[in-house]
Symmetry: C2
Subunit: 259 residues, 2 copies
Amino acid sequence: MYFYNVINVTIIGTGNLAFHLSKVFLKNQKINLVEICGRKKNLPIEFNHYINYSNNISRIKNSDICFICVSDDQIENISKNLQTEDSTIVLHCSGSTSIDVLSNHNSYGVFYPLQTFSLKKNINFSNVPIIIEGNSNKNLNIIRDLSLMLSNKALKASSKQRLAIHISAVFTNNFTNYMRIVADEILKSNEIDTKILNPLTFETFDKLKYLSSKEAQTGPAIRNDLKTIKKHLNLLKGTGHEKVYETISSEIIKLENEL
Amino acid sequence: MYFYNVINVTIIGTGNLAFHLSKVFLKNQKINLVEICGRKKNLPIEFNHYINYSNNISRIKNSDICFICVSDDQIENISKNLQTEDSTIVLHCSGSTSIDVLSNHNSYGVFYPLQTFSLKKNINFSNVPIIIEGNSNKNLNIIRDLSLMLSNKALKASSKQRLAIHISAVFTNNFTNYMRIVADEILKSNEIDTKILNPLTFETFDKLKYLSSKEAQTGPAIRNDLKTIKKHLNLLKGTGHEKVYETISSEIIKLENEL
């Protein structure tokens, strides 16, 4: 039914994900962004200023699909205060929150885009895998069809599988980026331009196109080169990075023994 | 003097770096690879089989520059057993070894390519920064000129600075790659195709072209979202990845408090 006409959607929230979703909705002719609803008095200036905005959730406009894009600990609370028609599918966008927190609604599900979103960096949404779940097959099919209008890849996963995907995203994105923060800090404190790491950072990523992550592993820990590890720990003494270095190295050494 | 004619080079060692260096030397018309010398009976089959090979270091052929490409703990030993002419510059290629281990020679220095090398993955050497050091200005200039024949970037650094660069490379490459190993493992044990992480892995790297590593940080730890972190640790219980997750998250939380 939905897809012969325009789909009306609303967004609750004004953070990074709400921003990127609003952009991709506005670009899609089959989707009509009815309204954004948030706590702030006005819609933040980064957003397209033609979007209708309200900060009164009790008077939210009707839509086919309502996206809850708020921080994880607010989803349940927002869901309880949200009055929608029975046919409206209420979705949250969280990797680590069970679908069940939306069970006060008639139609609900999950739409979790597996990507890292920052305001200042554009995202090509068509490459972003969408991890989906629905409270019925009918709703799941609608969520899948909508996802495939935005992205090339939609993947059905249980709430537990989605949590595992979210953890893997924390390792591959958040923790990886933190490694570069540490590297940049070490270089700066030794008066070396951090750009020197760019070819290595690129190769670290590029290798994974050709080798499995296990095949791609190099460095002192996988060689069990304890002498080099000791030299590194000596230089890191007092910088606060010792513990991270030690913990990860000892895990890689364990891996070396397994291989 | 060297650069009006062909430079004659030798390589000691038959590992990943020796392999990639031999390839780049063979491609360069101004460089003549005289010989590779290693412990193995024959040159491994991956190498170009026209290269002269010997496993007798006491009869190594004369060259202008001799590259010691062996594991860090063997460099000093190899250097002591290496008889060269006074004019031959002896180089090691280690990030974490002082230049001083080569001081039994008349001319010596360091040639450390800041990159990760695997046999199965080609490297565009022209993008690899070479970190150099020399026992005299004259030798340093020769090492720099040779480096710039192979790469766009040569950087002079003290042995201590080079060690700091090496540590930063361990964080940005070895530890980052380990994060992907963990992520792949978590996905596999939940029956999810690991390829689903590829767009996120790409974005993690691509972001650094537009944002500093600190600006690029997202995720539960930088938001100090202890509830999500607890859910993640619960799911990781017994997998062996708990400690890594906990250690890095607590460092990111500290960072959040600094910002």
